[in-house]
C-alpha cells in the first residue's frame, strides 16, 4: 500500500512537469504583454519605463530561460512575486499567514468545494439507490426529470435565481461575501450562524451540477449490480430485501462512484471562478479572475499549478479509496 502511494506520487512529477510546461508556454506566448495593462491605465508611461519594467519582471529573457527560472523556484515552493504594484509573493496572496486560517483564499475555496462534495454525496447516493430500486416508478421518473433539468441548468443562472428568491424576495439569506458587516460584534454562536448563512447558497450552487450527474451515475451502477447473479442468490436464500440492497448490492455499486470523486475535482475548481465571482467570495477563483485581468503571470501560473496539484491528489485519493474498498484490486 505505502509503496503503491509512493510510486503514484513519483508518477505525478512528470505529469505536473508537463502541466506547468504547457501552461507556462500558452500563457507567455499569448499575444500582448503584462506591461500593456499598465500602459493602458497610464498612457504617459515612456517606452524606456516599459523596458525597465519588463527587465524587472524578467520578461526580456528568452521564454525557455524564463521557464527554467520559474521551475527552479517551484522546487522550493516559491511561486515568485506578483506583478501587481504591491509586489507581494504569490504564495502570500494565496495563503496569507498573517490572516486567520479561515480567511485565507486557498482555505476558503477548498472548504466550499469540500462542503459541496459532501452535500453531493450525501444527497445523490440515496437518490440514485432509491430510484434504481424503484425503477420505472413515479418517484424514479421525477428524479430522472430532476437529473436532466439539473444537468442542463447553468450554475450561475441558478445562483441568480436563488439570490432573487431567497436574498431579495424573501430576504432570508445574504447574497454576497462570507460574513456580515457587524460580524466582529457577534457572539461566538452568532458568528458561526452568520458564516453558515453566508455559505448556504454558494455551497448549494456549486453542488447542484454534480448532484445531478452523480445520482444518475449511482442509479445506473446500482441497476447493473442488482441484475447480478449473487444478488439473485442472496434473494433466493431468503435474506431481507433491505439487507440484500444495502449489504450485497449497494457496496458493490459504490465502487465506480469513488473514481468519480477524483474526476469531479477539476470541474469543481473551475466552477469556483463563477460562483466566487457571483457571490463576491474572496477565494482562489476570484483571485484567479483578477490575476487574469491584470495579466499577473506569476499569480496565474501559481494558481493553475496549485489547481493541478489538487486535481492530481484528488485522483490519487480516489484510487486509494478504490483499493481500500475493492479487495480484488488490493490483491494485484
Amino acid at each position: 500500500m505505502v509503496s503503491y502511494i509512493i510510486k503514484r506520487l513519483l508518477e505525478m512529477i512528470p505529469t505536473l512537469f508537463g502541466i506547468t510546461l504547457l501552461s507556462f508556454f500558452i500563457i507567455h506566448l499569448a499575444p500582448g504583454k503584462p506591461t500593456d495593462v499598465l500602459t493602458e491605465m497610464n498612457p504617459k508611461i515612456t517606452p524606456e519605463a516599459r523596458e525597465r519594467l519588463e527587465k524587472l519582471y524578467g520578461l526580456d529573457k528568452p521564454i525557455v530561460e524564463q521557464y527554467w527560472v520559474w521551475l527552479k523556484r517551484i522546487v522550493y515552493l516559491d511561486f515568485g512575486v506578483s506583478f501587481s504594484t504591491d509586489r507581494r509573493p504569490v504564495i502570500e496572496k494565496i495563503w496569507d499567514t498573517k490572516q486567520p486560517f479561515m480567511e485565507r483564499r486557498l482555505f476558503i475555496t477548498f472548504m466550499i468545494n469540500v462542503l459541496s462534495m459532501f452535500v453531493i454525496f450525501l444527497v445523490a447516493i440515496p437518490i440514485g439507490v432509491s430510484s434504481a430500486t424503484h425503477q420505472y416508478s413515479l418517484y424514479d421518473k421525477i428524479t430522472t426529470t430532476f437529473v436532466f433539468v439539473g444537468f442542463a441548468t447553468p450554475a450561475f443562472w441558478l445562483a441568480l435565481l436563488l439570490m432573487i428568491f431567497f436574498g431579495i424576495y424573501l430576504d432570508w439569506l445574504p447574497i454576497s461575501g462570507l460574513k456580515s458587516m457587524d460580524y466582529e460584534s457577534l457572539s461566538l454562536f452568532g458568528k458561526s450562524w452568520d458564516r453558515t448563512r453566508h455559505l448556504i447558497l454558494p455551497v448549494f450552487v456549486s453542488a447542484f451540477g454534480g448532484l445531478a450527474g452523480l445520482s444518475r451515475f449511482m442509479r445506473s451502477s446500482m441497476l447493473e449490480v442488482i441484475r447480478q447473479d449473487y444478488v439473485t442468490v442472496a434473494r433466493a436464500k431468503g435474506i431481507y430485501e433491505s439487507s440484500v440492497i444495502y449489504k450485497h448490492a449497494f457496496r458493490n455499486a459504490l465502487l465506480p462512484i469513488i473514481t468519480l470523486l477524483g474526476l469531479s475535482i477539476p470541474g469543481l475548481i473551475g466552477g469556483s471562478v463563477i460562483f466566487e465571482n457571483i457571490f463576491s467570495i474572496p477565494g482562489m477563483g476570484q483571485l484567479f479572475y483578477m490575476s487574469v485581468m491584470m495579466r499577473d503571470y506569476p499569480l496565474v501560473m501559481g494558481i493553475l499549478t496549485i489547481g493541478a496539484i489538487l486535481t492530481l491528489l484528488g485522483n490519487l485519493l480516489a484510487d486509494i479509496g478504490y483499493m481500500v474498498t475493492d479487495p480484488r484490486i488490493r490483491a494485484q
Partner: protein, 286 residues
C-alpha cells in the same frame, strides 16, 4: 427485427423514445429560430430606446426591455444564433482533433500512443475552465477566439473514445482481410475502421455541443465571452445580475433559454446513444 437495415432499426427505436424525440424537437426549433432570426424578432435587437428602460414584460415587449431600453425577446432570438454557432464550431474543432489523435494512437500504438495518452492525462488534470479563461482574456475575447479555445480544450474525450474503438476494431477479420489485400493504412483507417466507430463519436459530439453552450454562456457572463453590444444569452445575464434587484426578467428568461437548449442537446444525445446501442435491443424485445 427481421430484414430491417441498421438505419431503419435506428429510426424505429428513436421514434419510440419520447424524450429523444422531444430533444430533437427542441434542437430543430433552435435551428429554425437561429436561421429565421431577422424575420422573427419584433424589434432591432440593438435599437436603444431611452424612454423604455427596464420595462417589465408587457404586450408591447413580451419579455421586457433591458437597461438601454432594448427589446429582450429580440436580443434573445439574436443570441440563439451565437449559441448555435459557438456550439457547433467548437465541437467540430474538438471532434476533428480527437478523431485524428485517437485514430493515430489506436491504430499505430507504440511510443506515439504513449505520448498522446500522457498528453491527454495532462490536459485532463489542468482545471480547463481556468485555462480557457486565461487564454481568452489574454488573446482578447471575440466569438472566434472562444470557439477555437473551447474546441482545443475539449477533444480529450473523443480521442479516448476513438482510440478504444480502433483498438477493438483493428483486430477484426474484415480489417485483417483488407490488410491482406494490400489496402493502404489511410484506406483502412478511414474506409474500414473510422466509419464503424462514428456512432459513439456522434453521441459525444451532440453532448459536447451542450457543454460548449454552457461554457460560452459562463464566459460571456463573466465578461470575457461574446462582447456587448452583440447579444449572447450569457452577457444578457450579466445585465440581469447588475439589475438583480429591479429587473427579474433579465435574469430569468436568458437562463431559461440556455437550460432548454442544453436539455435539448442532452436528450438528443442520450436518445441517439440508446438507439444505436445493440445491447439494449434485446432488452426491449422482452
Amino acid at each position: 427485427m427481421g430484414n430491417y437495415s441498421p438505419t431503419k432499426i435506428f429510426w424505429q427505436r428513436f421514434k419510440h423514445n419520447k424524450l429523444a424525440v422531444g430533444g430533437a424537437f427542441i434542437v430543430l426549433c433552435l435551428f429554425i429560430v437561429a436561421f429565421l432570426a431577422p424575420f422573427l424578432s419584433p424589434y432591432n435587437p440593438n435599437e436603444i430606446d431611452r424612454k423604455q428602460i427596464l420595462e417589465s414584460p408587457s404586450i408591447e415587449h413580451p419579455l421586457g426591455t433591458d437597461e438601454l431600453g432594448r427589446d429582450l425577446l429580440s436580443r434573445m432570438i439574436s443570441g440563439a444564433r451565437i449559441s448555435l454557432l459557438v456550439g457547433f464550431v467548437a465541437v467540430g474543432i474538438a471532434t476533428i482533433i480527437g478523431m485524428i489523435l485517437g485514430a493515430f494512437s489506436g491504430y499505430y500504438g507504440g511510443w506515439p500512443e504513449r505520448i498522446i495518452m500522457r498528453f491527454i492525462d495532462i490536459m485532463l488534470s489542468i482545471p480547463t475552465f481556468f485555462l480557457i479563461l486565461a487564454v481568452i482574456a489574454f488573446i482578447g475575447p471575440s466569438i472566434w477566439n472562444i470557439m477555437i479555445v473551447i474546441g482545443v480544450t475539449s477533444w480529450m474525450g473523443v480521442a479516448r473514445l476513438v482510440r478504444a474503438e480502433f483498438l477493438s476494431i483493428k483486430e477484426r477479420e474484415y480489417v485483417l482481410a483488407a490488410k491482406a489485400m494490400g489496402a493502404s493504412d489511410l484506406r483502412i483507417i478511414f474506409r474500414h475502421i473510422m466509419i464503424n466507430s462514428l456512432a459513439p463519436v456522434l453521441v459525444s459530439a451532440v453532448l459536447g455541443v451542450a457543454s460548449a453552450v454552457l461554457v460560452e454562456s459562463a464566459l460571456s457572463f463573466l465578461g470575457i465571452g461574446v462582447q456587448p453590444p452583440t447579444p449572447s444569452w450569457g452577457n444578457i445575464l450579466t445585465s440581469g445580475k447588475d439589475n438583480i434587484e429591479i429587473a427579474w426578467w433579465l435574469s430569468v428568461f436568458p437562463g431559461l433559454a440556455i437550460l432548454i437548449t442544453v436539455l435539448g442537446y442532452n436528450l438528443l444525445g442520450e436518445g441517439i446513444r440508446d438507439a444505436v446501442d445493440p445491447r439494449l435491443w434485446d432488452a426491449e424485445k422482452k
